[in-house]
Amino acid sequence: MLAWNTGSIRRKLMLSVAAGVLTVSGYAQAEETLKLGALGVMSGPFAGWGGVMCQTFKSRAGMWNDDGGVKIGDKTYKIDVVCVDDKADPKGAQTGAEKLISDGIKYIQGPNTDSTAESAKTVMEANKAINMPYAFSKSLYTPPASQSILGMVASYQVGPIIYKWLMDNKGIKKIAFLCENNADPLNQRNEGSAAAKGLGLEVVSDQETYESGTTDFFPVLTKVIGTSPDHIVLSGVNPSDVGPLIKAARELGFTGTMSTETGQDPKAIYEVAGEAANGFIVAGGASTEEIRSDFMVKFIERYTKDWGEWNDVAGLFVYGPEIMVQTLQKAGPAALEDTEAFKAALDGFVGTNPFLKDGGELKYVGRKDYGQPRQVSVPIVVQAVKDGQYEPLFVGALND
């Protein structure tokens, strides 16, 4: 910003270029910076979650900044994203949350697992910072907790929708669940299994698990397929295990359908499993060619330019920054100082979804599951892998 010494010159100039200044001043004022955070696992076996989350946030921020910044109230801000790696360690999550907050950050995307999100919660609640975990533990979102907003569709919400669709369209009757022997996947399996039973499906196997880092899935799948299910659910599966699991199941002669409720990259699955990957059903993401908007295409280009290769999971994570910033704009400058203003805005917030061709609304939901609006209304896009791409099966919406 330039400092004019003489008031008259300033006034004269303002008058003469009144219209033109609007854009220029918008740009000049964007020297103000709004710091936002990403806290998640960015190294080790689960780097596929937090690493992509951080990269997504940075790319989206880059697009905002290229457009001149984000206008909140009267001011325009450049977005600066600070990523902190919690190493999937609850100690690291707590320290990382403190670190972001000490940088003056009040809005944070992540963490990515139950244990890190629960640990970060103590810091978030005490410091009135808002965070957007990708973890399904209900105590994060139910009162008295109030600072966490679930950034995606929970497996227990999307599971029944997929199973119902499969019953109606593929006539499945017997279902099996398989997951990694780890906290988050086991929880998702238990809830998925309960939901399937509720729908009247016969659950033939829901006790089989494999260890993190398994290379050969033949042994465990042999037993699962031995129960002759029509459908196998891979609950909370780590992106790195999907391809090998599908491949092994097909090689063992399994001909039924398979699905997972967490976001996955179709290209990576196809590369490992080949033809066997076709028909694999995945919920999440919104970057499928048929349904994505031009804006999503632009985002994909940006992400690819920044990080070398597109990852479909980014199509899910990008909803976080989007709704975060839209809500900040709606809640106004007060929310930059105090997250109470942000939380007050959650209930009535209706934003626009720029990522889908058909547009639609972005809202906060979860009143039924959590008793308060603490979930982002990411559209439930159920899709199947087809030759390294996704083809959408149907799009659903979350309950309020």
Binding site: M42, P90, K91, E118, D184, L186
Partner: protein, 333 residues
Amino acid sequence: MAGGSSHSIAKPIALGVLIALGYFIAVPLLSGGSGYVLNVVTTMAAVSFISFGVWLTFAIGRINLAQAGFALIGAYVTAISVAHLGLSFWVALPLSGLVAAIIGGLIGWPVLRLKGVYFAMITLCITEACRLTALSFPGITRGAQGMVDLPLPGDLSLFGLVIIPAFEKGARLPFFYLAGTLMMLGLLFMWLLDTSRVGAVFRSLRQNEDLASSLGINVAKYRVVAFMVACFYAGVGGGFFAALQQNVYPTSFQVIDSVYFMVYCFVGGLEFVIGPLIGALVMMTSFELLHEFQRYQTVIYSGLMILCILLMPNGILSVVRRRSSKAKGANNA
């Protein structure tokens, strides 16, 4: 072994007082109440407390990778005690250490016959087995769902006199002081142990168990005692973290934690009681300082760790001591 133990006790005591003053007075003043700094220092203190146990097992010549497993046991004991049994945190914390020590004694008795890499790897298996046990028995541990929303420590009163007030939600200083107290007590006990006759026996075990045995020392008993003390430290430390994070999951302490506890001992220097503390201080501070490098953080951090081992294979303190003894030699000459 213990920084100049043979000469006098004045120096170590002065050092201890200096650390205590630095921790309890300088850090809170200098940090300006920054939650971040306090949290890092709190974590560092509690982690070095746990690492003292690993250090002790090193002292008897064993590479202990089971420490995270016993910390997990301690964390669950604290969580179950305060959430299900309604015990006070101040009872649960020592109880966690005790339970971990007893389990450690039972497992340690046979396992301590192993040496070298076998012991290292079997203890690694123990850490994994603890995680899998926590997952496999949801009736006790709530399994994968984890134990969440644990109550904060209440007040500790004796004969109606409040010694420690109840911890308030969001207050960082109580945990900071608790971690510091644990660290100082842990250090003091380690130092007393190391300079005592028992400490000398432990060292003789490391150098030659057969010789110690021929001198009439009950080798099996001593090494189990050392291992149980180590497990006690792990249990108490684990209980502390359960209270700090207000939750426990089977993944709260994993093999990688065991590895880092060991790293802190090495980086500080295995021949110094204070080694784990220095190691944790240096390593954790450098990790935090490297946040600036974002996605290169871990690469640079591990690169520094390798460099540290290359340049100071016997730990940071060994270099400090060499310097000071050189200076002393120059003075005498």
